[in-house]
Amino acid sequence: MVNILDRKKTAAQIVAGARNQEKMSAYELINGIFENFFELHGDRLSGDDAAIVGGIATLADKSVTVIATNKGESAQERMLTHFGCPQPSGYRKALRLIRQAEKFGRPVFIFVNTAGAYPGKSAEESGQGEALARNLLEISEVKVPIISVIYGEGGSGGALALACGDSVWMVENSMYSVLSPEGFAAILWKDSKRADEAAEVMQLTPEKLLAQKVIEGIIPESHSHKRVCRAIKKTIEQEMKELMSLSPNELLVKRYERFRKF
């Protein structure tokens, strides 16, 4: 216990850690945890957003659906994914894959590392608000377990729309908040340079969020990507086992209560 307190980080350090360029990419993470990943594209409505990667994979000999936000690796990819900020078509793709998982009884795993839903002209035109709203509405009654892991930034409604299932975990260096600390400081104090101060009052660190029961737990992180993948895998396998033992009805009641308490 003393050990943990000794290396306690400030909120600003956690934010910096969450945004670290060394974080794993979506593909590295998926392939590090799951086997036989088969990617599926498109939202069947308007397009295919590179900022959301999804498909079918295997975990502990079970067929599962995997979805992850993707920041991209090269400069070109990062432009294409808007640095990991999904478009409405990305959220619609995610929902399509979740509905598909439900039809075939597959649990869903979602990995979140996004500053938020993409704010832009095209996103507004194709209904960013509607896309997020629909995810929240539909996911509240999907009859298979949905487990989310925030492994970097968890920004606002864009993160919530991918973390509104049965269980949400965060890795040690990650954040989850109503808005970026910069935006928060700009709105409240009209000074985005006070972001560090904002990070502190926002209580966006995994520790604070766990205490408030916003999340289920924290996964330890280290520099070795392999070790992080192993830690995540262990946690989500255990979660899957527990959630799969519930009947669909029990699952949905539990999911309702999870948010009803706030």
């Binding site: 839903a117 704010p119 832009g120 002209k121 996103a123 507004e124 035109e125 194709s126 209904g127 960013q128 608000g129 509607e130 997020l132 709203a133 629909r134 929240l136 509405l137 539909e138 509240s140 009654e141 606002s156 409604g157 919530l160 729309a161 509104c164 989850y176 908040s177 109503v178 808005l179 935006g183 928060f184 709105i187 409240l188 009052v201 926002m202 209580q203 966006l204 969020l209 408030q212 916003v214 999911r255 309702y256 948010f259 009803r260 706030f262």
Partner: protein, 285 residues
């Protein structure tokens, strides 16, 4: 100047500025419409507070709207107050000011209402309460309204007006979006009707949750509807966005709302919609 000096009646002493004149002129008589920029005499806005030039509905308090909207109303959860979960500096001061201005304890008024004989659960957000932002109390009152409506098998009508999530309540504000959505879904699963009326402005977390989940989504003319604010978009992607990008009319064209209804027609249109969805859809039945 010679002439002025000679004719005493027009002398400079007679046309000196009356320094106190400004104080005697009441302020607020003339209002500029924020949409069409026309100067309007305040009485021309009328009961409904609508610009006679462009039909834009001015931002009014929830209680002002209630006065002309319903024939009967029983308020719910009137005393519910926020616990200030983040202990946020100066938040209480801000709350007190908003409470004085709106006569509400938080940004929404909820209750069971009637238009003629049609009974329904009603929520009206107040843009004058910290910009109608959605805090824990807002979320709790809306969720409770849906749960109550489900128990009583009543339709729900919500008037949205919000700058988005309440920053001072941080992550707890965000959680309200998922909480309300799940309650909307339960209500909807029972085949009950949910109508949203988007008023100025409907943005952020409110757009991204219950505002866009109505079976029927109406909007007042020219109101702002969007997810990310214009300034946020411009400062993030460094591109100018067109002025009308988030006007109700544009959003209608893009396929996200069902109809734009003028304020003075709202009561009658809502009554008709309620009637056409009650009694198994048999109008006059």
């Amino acid at each position: 100047m010679q002439l002025f000096n000679e004719l005493k009646t027009l002398g400079q002493q007679h046309i000196k500025a009356d320094k106190k004149a400004g104080e005697r002129v009441p302020s607020g008589l003339w209002i500029a419409c924020p949409k069409c920029h026309q100067s309007l005499y305040h009485k021309d806005l009328g009961t409904y507070q609508v610009c006679p030039n462009c039909e834009y509905g001015f931002r009014i308090t929830a209680r002002e709207r209630l006065a002309w909207l319903v024939d009967d109303f029983k308020e719910l959860d009137a005393d519910m107050k926020t616990t200030d979960p983040l202990n946020f500096p100066d938040y209480n001061k801000k709350l007190e000011k908003s409470r004085r201005n709106t006569g509400l304890n938080d940004s929404i008024l909820t209750g069971i209402a009637k238009i003629q004989t049609e009974e329904f659960a009603l929520g009206i957000m107040d843009p004058n309460f910290i910009m109608g932002s959605m805090g824990t109390v807002t979320g709790e009152k809306i969720t409770h309204l849906f749960e109550d409506a489900l128990k009583k098998r009543l339709p729900v009508i919500l008037f949205t007006a919000s700058g988005g999530a309440r920053m001072q309540e941080g992550i707890f504000s965000l959680m309200q979006m998922a909480k309300i959505s799940a309650a909307v879904r339960r209500h909807s699963n029972e085949g009950l009707l949910y109508i949203t009326v988007l008023t100025d402005p409907t943005t952020g977390g409110v757009t991204a949750s219950f505002a866009m989940q109505g079976d029927i989504i109406l909007a007042e003319p020219r109101v702002l509807i969007g997810f990310a604010g214009k300034r946020v978009i411009e400062q993030t992607i460094h591109q100018k966005v067109p002025n009308n990008l988030q006007d109700a009319e544009t959003v209608l064209e893009r396929g996200f709302i069902d109809a734009i209804v003028q304020r003075r027609d709202l009561k009658q249109k809502l009554e008709w919609l309620l009637e056409s969805h009650s009694k198994g859809g048999l109008v006059n039945g």
